[in-house]
Symmetry: D4
Subunit: 256 residues, 8 copies
């Protein structure tokens, strides 16, 4: 209930067009969102170009299709972790939907996406991390930020990384994706001044324990100011990065 | 070696005031930082108001004192995790140094700190998380961002949190600090659109496993875009938040 | 051995129709249950409408079928974690058995179930938790409690939850099912006064560690009075909830 | 804001003693609890005899004292995990506060506690679990339920347990407290039909891993319907048990 | 090299039929077992009826077959963890080999097994533990001990267990097999005085963590004198039990 | 209730000196142990020379003293994990009690202990494991088995172990105690044929994780037939070994 | 940029054939490796006979093929963890590539490999560890060291190991591969003086936890000077061993 | 028994100065080391300048003193992990013993140490790792290798590391010591070609889990050929490094 609605209600009480019991009842029945207008605002903001997001891993092909059909006329739609069979099922029925096999995403853009002026940089330690990077890239784009990927610059060949410093500096925010020991986040964290969102990946075996080594490594990074999302969570990193990029808007990044 | 220095060297070669062997040697001896000018820039940026940071937990009182003496004329200095005995030792010899017992920090401001226009909000689930919050606050201030703390608005009393939504919205970035199950990050993540840096704390016992429950909870948060730092790492969260705040500069935050 | 049996034995000793050695032997051979009459009582209670429960995950289709055939004339029968192939095998031979694919249960009601007057509420954070919720619902119903499911009201959209408060209040006991960080139990625990049985689910990936994050989160919940069952254990939660509901009987719940 | 308050406000609007802008402001400023009447109800319930609870482990003696002073005129107060030094400090200043050293609680009863008619049974496997049992007992009593402790009936001497079956049956709810392997919950769960809240304790060493063995054992109990709280969490178990006991009210328990 | 061999060698040196260099060489080349006569003894003991044991899980069908062919004329042979395909492959070529599908063993008895007079009792908590029990039983028999299985007497129905006490008492050693929380070992440990070898199984899910809950539970059992083998290790438990049974030989067990 | 007691009761019924109601009451009131005669036997066995065992770690000095005073006239008494202060307290009041500081035990022998003819061998990998070995030795002796310790024959110096093979062979059962990687159990398990009870110790640091490395190592030992007790649990190992030794009685061990 | 290149540049500046701006640009554009000449040296060394290494587990058959085609004219190529399908795909198109199924490697030797004079010894505890041993052997050979495998000399049969001491002594470096408890590394570490690289394997089950038991065991080995690589990482162990072997060159090993 | 001893024995048999029974007895009684001459060699090698090593953490001051007194006339002696009180106790009685407080070592050199020509480089990520580095350095020196420490060149300031490349290259073997995420091993592993022994340290907090993050990070390092020792195990790393250095002897390292 926005201010004007609330004012109207009180006016109706005042002018007698609403009696007190009815007024009490209306106030009682106000859905929460009418009071917590912040959330209304947020919802409005979200409706301005933000996609509906479907985590397809736990859903049937039919459910994913149904959501696409229901949403796609008024919303951008982003489905992540889409199994290939689900993608095939949806594409046969909605051929205009875009499928990115490496990212395992299905996307539908409703109208046009307005992009932020600053791009987000996505860095991977190895080529095996590319799946996570692609998920992050597609998510960034659906959330309104351009993104570019620089892959395979892990710390065991530090010169490959140093060669790319200029490219790293072009982004407002960096998403750093690494499996194994996840050291890339620490090294980049010491070289650049942008915010860094680190994504540990499950690339590795044995003492990697499905990403635990990279996760713990990134959390205990000796480079201050690196923050971390869940293992293999390219989507979450992109969300965090886009929140920052949206905040920045058209401001040019610091001259670091 | 900045461009002008490098140019001077080449000019000296060209005009014969430096012979080739000496030139070779100078180039060979260039410390890395002279070539990797990115880091020069960063260093310069750092020198413009960024503090020297001392992790005092693993150092003797004498070592901490010595670093303060050496640094304090040209730098802001921030020492974190300062045991009380170390603080007393330093304060007896350098009474002008500031000691914040709850934050366990010693700070020295060299001249003045130039603050960013937007403040950082620091939220805690319980009063026991205040130590971490204070460490974050002192760090923010030493890194050039004002910060305010809203404490004790954990999710078991959701109305306390909803009452504070307006205050939460005043910050450009939110640091959300919670122990136990760490659910506060998820709930706030669903209510606001600013970047959120979540700090799990070791507050709790038993299945908390020294902060593991909050850490895993925040990493697997159902609220997209929450990124996480190490357990009890108020300092690291402040660094991440300030990187974002510095990027933003005087831009007003999004109207969310 | 019930009191009357025991009395008869002593009378036979007294009147000489049983000699002491035979009496000793009979006492020696008394199965435990004849002394521990509590368990007799419990068994009787159990026979009054409680189902035989089969954990089908570790059994062959033949074994499950056999138990159904043996039990179904005198008992309600509930088989949980029934693989689809097992269900098909049983249904081909016992078409009157009910199969709930989402719950992965096979059920047979022998006569009629007498239901408790108060319903049990089953709440899920996301739609992926529905399998666990359905297992809980079927179990509740087989144990004599009606149950209703409210799904997809996770804490990242707190207003969805607040909108459902009235519905939550209609149950005598709440089963709260959530994966990822499991924060839903904490938030609901702070909003309602009914007993809450929390079920962590393995929904999630990475730092979820097959449900560990939700499990630890629920165990360390900042909301007092939440108790927890095993990961994905909808069956166990329903048992715990029905024990409470049976205790309550036709008493109307507290006016909270 | 209770209904009558809200009604008064609307009446003031209606009769003109409050103008609309002031009315709007009052409604705007209403703390959340005034709209979310569910919570009002709960708060009222809480005020009717429920204690303020202080987790003293993370607080200074001064803080604990201050809360006692502030609360004790209008509320029952319960402080848990009170270090001995804190207790001494408070008792010197507030001698009428009750200190239970084994439970590590400080309590103040404001007026009188109205007790539920059914008692709660607290069972421990060993005498080393008594600290947790005492915390549970004090909490039960402060929350309005009588409680009795039966200790040292661990499963390695099953006859001790069987001897106590009649006593176990007198409670409406059982809190079962055990360290080491925590098997007591499973065995009791198979013998009685009341709701069981299991509390793993950190009693043990080595592979006990500070209570992990009991925790996992209770969570995977072969006895259906056992629900579990955090390690050593006598307080939480009491809260869960009292929620059930309050629900039951004066209804006599099932004749199991 | 047995004493007599060694004596012969020295005699040959003494009588000159062997020169010193050849003697030296023979001594040098003595395989270790000739010096460490303990192991000779052990080997002899092993050859007296002990099987060759093949852990088939990591071997190809061809390798298992080859070992059977090579061994089966002079040895009993026991292959454990035999995949069905491997069993089929071997049986097609060696139809006289015995395949126990539930135990996943292939066995060949070379001549006859001499059995110890006392049987070993194998107890399981649930029917899902039968695979492990069968592996233990087959192993016992191949190692020369008769064994009997009592299954499905888990602690949630303590009367089932108490009814079987007499049967439990007939064995010289008990192997107690249980998954979930593994409490059966503690309860039996408190009821009988025989040595108990406990086998945790991976039966369960969630917080069972593939047998960890039962493993930790058995290791921290409150019943003294329970020793534990690896998760699902029916073979190892049988080896431990047979070592005890062999030690006992024809001695009648204690009258406990 | 022993057989003779039970017979007397029946005789009293038969001869009329006890009426049926009183007989019923006596039978009803029989503590469980009177029916479950197995346990009577065990209790009798226990009373014949078995000590009362006190786990002193969780008890006050007063409690330990009290148990000693109460028990020591009719029982052997063994207290384990006795803190030095507790020992001092007890010894000042009961100077005849024996204190073994390294074993951390207090013992009182009531009359005389009848020893089994075969000794138990206790082997340690390093001298730091001696505390656990001493606890095992004292326990063995209180339970009626002589025991000898061979220490510091860890596998990194395999010749030290091989030199001791003859001594190892003199025991009926071996308790093998090792920290770090716990490999000693595997090596001895391959060299001797006696039953082996392995005790992992917390000796070590880092990846030892308080005994976890030795525990897992012993559980996964490549030597079949090694069974394991809890970390540092010398007491439990002695109980398991004595159960075997009691079973064996005066039978000479196998000639292995 | 090698010294001569750098010198040429300066000479061109000096003699005017390159102007200063172009010189500046060339220096600016120098890839890092031109300054960090260490890495140039290393690269040169690498190019002299070191293979390109492909971790095939995370790559498609097409990608692996492409790398082979691109590399094989100028480099040795080693692909590890090659799935059988990938191998088949590559071999159909490049029949001259060598496939070692047990090692799961594809290799191509470009010209000839120059071997180090000293061989590397690879020891396994069991035959199930052979896959890892083969990966290590192929890697050694591709990196220029001959290697031999001694398998199945686990510590449960210590004589098998002692019989092989002479063969163990022929290697300059030993790679010791063991699953289960990994004790082989400790025992060999106590018997020989060469450097030992230990490889824990995932051979085992239950408390092996996918290699964790062997990993922790090797890390906490009581034999000083054993260093460890990741679980199942035959490749990494070979790299570490070859680094040592290369260092040694043609020097004969110590006469230990 | 060396060859000559064995030959003498056989000659005595041959010439009749020893009869066969005595010969048999002597052969029987030969301690293992006399047959396994490898170990004799090793022992001899050890006696040539290798220290006796005492792990003082688990020993009393008296025990450590006693070992020093017994050993110091014929051996170098190295005690590690010496508590300060123990050191004081020993130094008061043996003032000539050397105490290195940071390394926590006591050392005694008996005569002179012959050093290997190549030094060992010890690198630390931070100054808090210096304790481990000092332990490694003292150990290297006692084992006959000179060592130098380069500290505080963690990866967050990669230029500090690159500046030291020449110094790194002077060592034959590198010991790389790092806490937190342990990334330094990966980065150095990519920059140099010497063997690298990585030591994870427990420096850090929270998700460091007492060194687990660094341990897992180093084990899963993307730089091939890094091998790892236990957390904080400077001693073990030095042993491994010295084994390599001894192997190398006076050979100059590879010109990489």
């Amino acid at each position: 209930m926005q201010n004007s609605t609330l004012r109207t209600l009180l006016q109706q009480i005042q002018d007698g067009s609403l009696d007190i019991d009815q007024g009490l009842k209306q106030l009682r029945d106000l859905p929460f969102k009418d009071i917590g207008h912040t959330k209304i605002d947020m919802h409005r903001a979200l409706r301005n170009g933000f996609p509906e997001v479907i985590y397809a891993a736990g859903k049937t092909a039919e459910q994913v299709l149904e959501i696409f059909i229901r949403m796609k006329q008024h919303n951008h739609v982003l489905a992540t972790r889409v199994p290939k069979a689900t993608a095939t099922y949806v594409l046969e029925r909605l051929p205009q939907v875009n499928y990115n096999q490496q990212a395992a995403t299905l996307t539908h853009v409703c109208g046009e996406i307005a992009y932020q002026p600053n791009p987000i940089g996505i860095i991977t330690a190895g080529t095996s991390d590319l799946k996570v990077a692609e998920e992050a890239k597609v998510t960034c784009e659906m959330l309104g930020s351009n993104a570019y990927i620089i892959s395979d610059i892990g710390v065991a060949g530090i010169h490959r990384l140093l060669d790319k410093l200029d490219e790293l500096r072009k982004a407002s925010v960096l998403i750093v994706i690494a499996g194994m020991e996840g050291a890339l986040a620490s090294v980049i964290g010491g070289l650049v001044s942008q915010p860094i969102i680190a994504v540990p990946t499950s690339v590795g075996y044995g003492a990697n324990f499905q990403g635990l080594s990279a996760l713990l490594g990134m959390l205990t990074s000796c480079a201050s100011g690196v923050s971390v999302v869940n293992i293999d969570n390219g989507f979450g990193a992109a969300c965090a990065a886009c929140k920052i990029n949206n905040l920045l808007g058209d401001k040019k990044e610091m001259t670091v």
